[in-house]
């Protein structure tokens, strides 16, 4: 794994506003990397700093082994797919795709036309070359933007929330297609998104950002199963937090969880460090199981009351109240043939596994 981008101590100020706070990050060659975070977290600023549209107030941006300080966007080995796609309205599809080839005097007119056809092929827009820019749908505009960037064979392709303007079906289709394209061309993709599901589906690695800081960099599984703090855990999927007290044990901590009881937790389940004293225990909705009609359990069982039920079609979500826990706990059950459904006010027996727990500082 060779690093293609290295950021060291990158800071960005807009007047008094501190948009990027001491960002250190390494992105590898051929990686599908996502910058994930809520709006205003600095992920787009970071992407624009890599592209050269913003200059870091401090710190070093290395791209392909070269310091990018003072290098304008047109001299960087990056190309960008803009959020609005930025398709030139006065040019047709082929002219848009060929825009960046003007300076390639080594290519004949025919060679350029062949490259354009090839790029359009790659994004599934064969025969669209003569189409006017305004006659394209959202998905097609995005494909043109992709072809226009990829035709220049950049070292890094930057994607600024490219899927946010598409409807759900189209988005899912493009997610699969982007992934396929990335594997096919083998260059580094950096995707900015606020959609955690999208980041999980598509990325090799994800950097989660809050308030201009990188909170965690990890592969999707690690990020989901071992978030380093409550903020990350809360942002990636749904997680319940239960108040607990924690004491150090041989290879981890022993926790006493309100409403759930005692459990021994291994050290790797404390990704943010092992707390002693007050702690917060996280558990995901799908990691708990409702037991119906006296169904036995081998593991631990907590007893609560169903406060609310939400039917999602494929799943049913329950909010269950436990004694000593102020917030109701959310758990999800797959809707299987013959599986009963609990009503509000019913007693709920909840089976849980200590291996599914994550322990945080309170």
């Amino acid at each position: 794994m060779t690093p293609i981008i290295t950021l060291t101590g990158v800071q960005k100020y807009y007047g008094d506003y501190h948009a990027l706070r001491d960002v250190d990050l390494t992105i590898n060659e051929g990686e599908f990397f996502s910058l994930l975070g809520p709006s205003g977290c600095g992920k787009t600023t970071l992407l624009r700093t890599i592209a050269g549209f913003e200059n870091a107030s401090d710190g070093v941006v290395m791209l392909g082994g070269a310091d990018m300080a003072g290098v304008p966007p047109n001299k960087r080995p990056t190309n960008m797919v803009f959020q609005s796609y930025a398709i030139f309205p006065h040019l047709n599809v082929a002219e848009n795709v060929a825009f960046g080839l003007r300076r390639r005097s080594d290519l004949s007119k025919q060679a350029k036309a062949d490259l354009v056809d090839e790029a359009l092929d790659m994004v599934g827009l064969q025969g669209f070359g003569g189409r006017a820019a305004h006659a394209l749908s959202g998905g097609q505009r995005q494909r043109v933007a992709l072809a226009r960037a990829l035709i220049l064979k950049p070292k890094v392709l930057l994607l600024d929330e490219p899927l946010s303007a598409l409807d759900k079906k189209m988005r899912e289709q493009m997610q699969a297609e982007l992934r396929r394209l990335q594997r096919q061309v083998g260059i580094t993709f950096i995707l900015v998104t606020h959609d955690q599901e999208e980041a999980l589906i598509m990325s090799d690695r994800i950097a989660v950002m809050f308030d201009g800081r990188i909170a965690q960099v990890a592969d999707p599984q690690t990020l989901y199963r071992r978030p380093v703090n409550r903020q990350v855990a809360d942002f990636i999927g749904v997680m319940n937090f239960l108040p607990a007290t924690s004491t150090a044990s041989e290879d981890g901590v022993d926790v006493q969880i309100a409403g759930f009881g005692a459990a021994s937790v291994a050290s790797e389940q404390c990704p943010g460090g092992m707390p002693t004293g007050d702690a917060s225990v996280g558990i995901r909705p799908e990691m708990m199981t409702l037991l119906f009609d006296g169904q036995p359990s081998e593991g631990a069982v907590a007893i609560g009351t169903v406060a609310e039920r939400y039917y999602y079609g494929d799943m049913t979500y329950y909010e269950v109240e436990f004694e000593g826990v102020s917030e109701p706990v959310t758990l999800s059950m797959k809707n299987l043939v013959g599986r009963p459904v609990l009503e509000r006010g019913d007693a709920a027996r909840v089976a849980w596994d200590p291996r599914a727990l994550v322990v945080f500082e309170a």
């Binding site: 304008p72 047109n74 609005s84 030139f88």
Partner: protein
């Protein structure tokens, strides 16, 4: 059919135009109008070189005014659109329109004061020792007409160009740079083509009324700066030859229309202004 806009168009546009057109085919027989339809007025236009000279001069002056106005207006519109903070833009546009607060006539007279033999410009330059005697090529000739009209029409050119520039999605300019072009080439390949609708509008808005301008050539044009509109006025009011005046007006209108259409067509074809 008989909707208010239609009546409005009929009364205020079609009827006067029709009247002018009809007049141009009549002739003036000393004190009475001869209402037999004839092409005599148009024949006179062709045979008498003065009319052609005046029309040609009008077209040349209007073209120069348009060129000067649009070339000077573009940087101003560009500056306001790209370099003025968004909350300040309306203030800037407001300031640009301030000259309109005084009457057109007053503004023309002010140019006389500025450009005159003992005017502000000459005394200023003399005072600074930059010239030894007053410049005379700036008043009572075509140059003075161009300067005065270019000033008068500046806002009409700035506004449509400004609007066209405002409508350009800024990410397109970033895309241009991202795809390897310098700022200058991005301006040339992205900004300018996207601003052409505004430039075309500015050209037409300035060119069309300038051809028929009457006050400015009359006041600052001198004998060599007179334009076709001055001749039309002379025909109507001094020579009491309304039919000849009407024929000149029709010829001027047709020339302007043809030139404007040719310009728009050339633009479509060569500059590819796509809406």
């Amino acid at each position: 059919m008989v909707s208010p806009p239609f009546i409005y168009a009929l009364l205020l546009l079609a009827a006067p135009m029709g009247a002018i057109l009809l007049f141009s085919f009549w002739t003036q027989d000393f004190l009475t109008l001869d209402t037999t339809l004839t092409l005599n007025n148009y024949r006179e236009f062709v045979e008498e070189p003065l009319y052609g000279v005046l029309l040609q001069r009008s077209l040349i002056i209007a073209a120069m005014v348009t060129l000067v106005t649009v070339v000077l207006a573009f940087p101003i519109a560009y500056f306001v659109s790209f370099h003025v903070a968004p909350e300040r833009k309306s203030l800037w546009l407001f300031l640009i329109t301030i000259p309109f607060w005084t009457s057109y006539l007053v503004r023309v007279f002010l140019w006389k004061v500025i450009l005159g033999f003992n005017g502000v410009l000459n005394s200023g330059l003399l005072g600074l020792g930059l010239i030894d005697e007053p410049l005379t090529f700036i008043l009572y000739n075509a140059n003075a007409v161009v300067i005065t009209l270019a000033h008068a029409f500046a806002p009409f050119a700035i506004l449509p160009i400004f609007v066209a520039l405002e409508r350009i999605d800024r990410s397109l300019l970033e895309a241009g740079q991202d795809l390897g072009e310098s700022r200058l080439m991005t301006f040339w390949r992205v900004t300018l083509p996207l601003a052409t609708p505004g430039i075309v509008a500015a050209v037409l808005i300035v060119f069309i009324p300038t051809i028929g301008d009457y006050v400015t050539p009359r006041l600052v044009g001198g004998p060599n700066g007179l334009m076709i509109a001055n001749m039309i006025q002379t025909q109507f009011l001094k020579l009491n030859n309304a039919p000849m005046g009407a024929a000149l007006a029709v010829i001027a209108m047709v020339s302007v229309s043809v030139i404007a259409l040719v310009f728009v067509w050339l633009n479509r074809k060569w500059l590819r202004v796509k809406q």
